[in-house]
Each structure stands twice: as structure tokens, then as C-alpha cells.
Amino acid sequence: MSPLARIAAIARNTLLEALRQRVLNVILVFGLVVLAGANLFSEFSFDDQFKFIKDYCLGIMSLIGVIMAIVAVAQLLPAEMEGRTLFTILSKPVRRWEFLMGKYLGVAAMLLLTLALMAAVSAAVLFAQEHSLSADAREGLARAADPQAAEAARASLAKIAAAARDPWLLAAVGLVTVKVLLVAAIALAISTIATSVMFTVVVTSLVYIAGHLESTARAVWLDPTQPAGPAAKVFLAVVSILIPDLGVFNLIDEIVLGNTVTIAYLLKASAYAGGCLTVVLLVSCALFESREL
């Protein structure tokens, strides 16, 4: 039997555990929060409403996704070790890296499922908003007395449809997903050397924040005109080299604002994420291989 089949069995089991325990509750809470929040915006004009709903949904998806990734991954290994299920599994013909990758893929599947459901809830809220707003606009079109008013009504109908069904929103969801998967891998790498759940959560959160500052650190490090002492330069160099640049995935704002984002950029950012993910997972395996259980 191939390693793939064993990894798949472990991943499936991890996903099953998540499903039987907590994930659906998170989705439920997300749905309620979004629905409640969407009504908060109803007093604004439709331009505002769509922007707010999009910012809000993507922001919450990103937040919940990152928190879930960190918390779920941080618990993986300690739970297996305390429950000694780790020993049972590793006494089977399973390599340590297979176990670790199975666990990661299981959590990744759970995160993908969660994000997909959150995206579906968001889309439903957007469509509901489109439905009610375009009903108003259509009424306006029916009542339009002159061509000018009709043009305005038609334009606002088109604008509503364009705002609600912007295909680039999928790219925004994709960027959130990529970021969440990368954060989960970083948490996994840290958990292989951690001695407690708290350690993993705290260190991963710090890395997450540092990941958004990495571009600044890199700029200061590589810019010879910047005044920084040798110690500071070394620190900045270490941060720049070790930590992925999470700012690369922060194009959500631009997408919501309808600004130009290119497919080429998205592809490059995905390739960058893939590189980071591969390296971080390899590092996790190397560290886990040498860990005393």
C-alpha cells in the first residue's frame, strides 16, 4: 500500500474528528453574525452596502479562518500525544512524515470546507441584497417618466448586478484560503517543536503579525540608506529570510473596491504561496522526524 493511501486515511480521520466536534458550530455562528451585520448596513446607500458586506464577510472569513487554523493545528499533536493515539498509529506501518502530512491535510480539508461554507453564506447575503435593491431599481425603471430617468435606473440596475456578482470576489476568497492554509502549515511547523498548545498559538500569532511586517523589515534591511545598527540589521535579515511575506495576499481591499488586479499577479502569488507551503511542510517533517516522543 502506498504512503498516499495511509496519508489519506489519516487525513480523512482528522476531518471526521473535526466534523463530529466543532466545525459546524463555527459556520452557524458565522452565518448569524453575517446576517445580523448585513442588516446593520441597510441604512447606507447601495454602494456602501455592497462594499461593507464584502469587507465584512471577507474580513470575518479571514479572521475565523486564521484563528481556526492556528487553534486546530496547535491541538493536533498534543492531543495525539496525550491520548497516546500517536503511539498506536506510529506502531503501524506508518512513517512519521506520513502521519504529519495526513494530519495537515485533514485540517486543511476542514479549513477548506469551512471557508467554502462561509463563502456560500456570504454569496447568499450578497444575492439577497441584490434581490431587494434591484427590486427597488426595477420599480424605479417602471415608473421612469423620461429617458434620462430610465437611463439612470438601468445604470443603477447594472451597477447593482455588477457589485453583487463581481467574479473577482472568488479571487479574494482564493487569497484568503491560500493565506489560511499557509498559516496552518506555519502552526504545524511550530507545533512540532512546541511543548504546549499555548506556545504554538502565541508563536504562530507572532509569526502571523510579523508576516505582515516582513515587507517593511525587508525594505529597511536591504536599503543601505536606512539608519539601522548592525544588531537591528541582523534581526531584520533573520525576519526577512525566515518569515513569509503575508502582505502578498492582501489584495482583498483592492478587489472589493473594484480596482484592477491581474490574473498574472494572482498566479504569481499562488506560486509563491505554494513555495512557502512546501518549504514549511518539509521543515515540519524534518523537525517532527527528530522529535523525542
Partner: protein
């Protein structure tokens, strides 16, 4: 080379370094062991004597600090080698959210049991360990004895040649304990090799062919159970017409041989007695 023995340990030691250079903990020291094909081997000793660490090293879960371990003549870290053994961990905890059948299916997949065989195998094992009532219940609702049974079943899911059982009877009621012992004997009758560890020495007396007793990481006794428990220089006489007041006379009569001797039996020491004796001989607890 000695691949005829499923397990061979030569001069194995395991030290755990303490943090901040506070020295190290010696878990196992200079351990030689050979487990022979088809026998039931008992690895005995009180808690903290190094049994579990030894099993972990045999399973390749932790590398020895020094010495060599062979599992079917191979280093134990190889997953292919582990396909030939089954392991029941001490007080096993499995995924609480899985049912009994799901647990066995999961471990069956990990062990590479072919998909076509898996379902039949799961049913077989559930019947074997007597868990029909727990088949579709999540493990969270299992009693300790039921967990032990599902643990045994998962150790056997891929029909291994060698079965390692860490404290198989700990915390199990007498009936369950009886069943487990019967199962061990059945495995032996099927030609499998069984290694079990226990700190309750007398619980395993009736199933083990050979035992090794560990104390503070050192092996203090090893040998066939029969020889250990029945020293050759003693006998028990069952006397007819025994009278307390004439005990001396009987003794005298026995000395001159004759008076109504019905049977001569072998006295049984308990493993506990042997353990205490050997610890004393070794000079008591090391500092």
C-alpha cells in the same frame, strides 16, 4: 542473522537528557533480550522499571541511546517491518469520536489491509474480542474493559506474526482478564509470538512461557517460567493421617522413609516472591 528470533536486543540503553544540563535519566541500561518464535514472552517489573520504554524502542517509536535492536532481523524504524507486528498500547485511548467498527476500519487501512478484505476482517475481530454490543457506539461511551478489547482487536487487524501487548490486563475486571488470557493462548496456538508487559506479576503467570523481570531499567531475572517458579531442590509432600502433635514423629518417620506418602508436588513460588528475592540479591534499590 538471528532472524529466527522475532526480537533481539543487544546492549540496549536509553537515556533521557534533562533540560538545562541537569544530567540525564536512565530509563533502560544494558538490556539483552531474545524473544523466540511462537512463545509468549512476559516483560515484567514494577511501574517505572523500563518496560514501556523497551517496547517503544522495539516499535521504533524512540531510538535507543546505544545498543542494537532487531525486529525480524531488521532495524525497527522501517515501516515494512512494523507491518508484521501488532501493538496494544498501555491503557489505550483511541479517537473517542469513532465507533468500534470505524476504529478497526481506520487502523486496517493504515496497515494496508486490502479494501476487499477489510469489512470481513472487522466483523471477525469484533466477534473475536466479543464487542458486538460496541460495534456502532462511539468509543467515548466505552468502559475500560471494552477499550482494552478494541485495543486488542486493532492490534490484530492485519493478522500480524508478532503481537506486543503493553499491560493487557491492567484495569480490567476478572472476567475480562480471563478473556484476554484466553485470547493470548489462542494466539499462541495459532503460532504467533506474543510479548506482553505487566506490573501485576501473578496475572500473567499462567500464560507466559518465558519472562524477564526488569527493575530500575535493568534486567534482574530471565528464564522459562517453569524453571523460575519451580526450583529443582524442593518438594511438597502430601501426608495422610497427619497430626499436629506428632509432627516431629512424622518428620522423623519421613527421614527414615516409609509412612503413607501419597503424592509429591512441586511448590509454586509466586513471581512476586522471585522479584523481591532478586531485588534483595542485587543489593536493594540503587540510589
Amino acid at each position: 542473522m538471528s532472524s529466527d528470533h522475532p526480537i533481539v536486543l543487544r546492549g540496549v540503553a536509553k537515556h533521557f537528557p534533562l533540560h538545562w544540563r541537569r544530567g540525564r535519566v536512565i530509563a533502560v541500561e544494558h538490556l539483552d533480550l531474545e524473544v523466540r518464535r511462537g512463545e509468549v514472552f512476559g516483560l515484567l517489573g514494577p511501574n517505572g522499571s523500563g518496560k514501556s520504554t523497551t517496547l517503544k524502542m522495539i516499535l521504533g517509536l524512540t531510538p535507543p541511546s546505544s545498543g542494537e535492536i532487531e525486529l525480524f532481523g531488521e532495524p525497527p524504524a522501517r515501516p515494512e517491518t512494523r507491518r508484521r507486528l501488532g501493538f496494544l498500547p498501555e491503557s489505550p485511548y483511541f479517537y473517542r469520536f469513532l465507533t468500534g467498527a470505524e476504529t478497526l476500519r481506520f487502523f486496517g487501512r493504515l496497515c494496508g489491509v486490502p479494501r476487499a478484505r477489510l469489512e470481513a476482517r472487522v466483523e471477525e475481530l469484533i466477534a473475536l474480542v466479543g464487542l458486538g454490543h460496541g460495534r456502532d457506539r462511539p468509543l467515548a461511551t466505552y468502559s475500560k474493559g471494552m477499550l482494552q478489547r478494541i485495543g486488542l482487536a486493532q492490534a490484530l487487524v492485519h493478522d500480524p506474526e508478532l503481537v506486543l501487548l503493553d499491560e493487557p490486563t491492567a484495569g480490567v475486571d476478572p472476567m475480562g482478564s480471563r478473556d484476554i488470557k484466553d485470547l493470548i493462548l489462542r494466539l499462541k496456538s495459532e503460532g504467533k509470538t506474543v510479548v506482553l508487559s505487566s506490573h501485576l506479576l501473578d496475572q500473567v503467570e499462567e500464560v507466559c512461557d518465558r519472562v524477564a523481570i526488569l527493575h530500575l531499567g535493568r534486567k534482574i531475572v530471565e528464564g522459562p517460567l517453569g524453571e523460575l517458579l519451580s526450583p529443582g531442590d524442593r518438594a511438597t509432600l502430601e501426608v495422610e493421617g497427619y497430626d499436629e502433635r506428632r509432627a516431629d514423629a512424622i518428620r522423623a518417620a519421613l527421614a527414615s522413609a516409609g509412612a503413607g506418602l501419597r503424592s509429591v508436588g512441586r511448590p509454586r513460588l509466586t513471581l512476586e516472591e522471585i522479584f523481591v528475592r532478586e531485588v534483595r540479591r542485587a543489593g536493594g534499590d540503587r540510589p
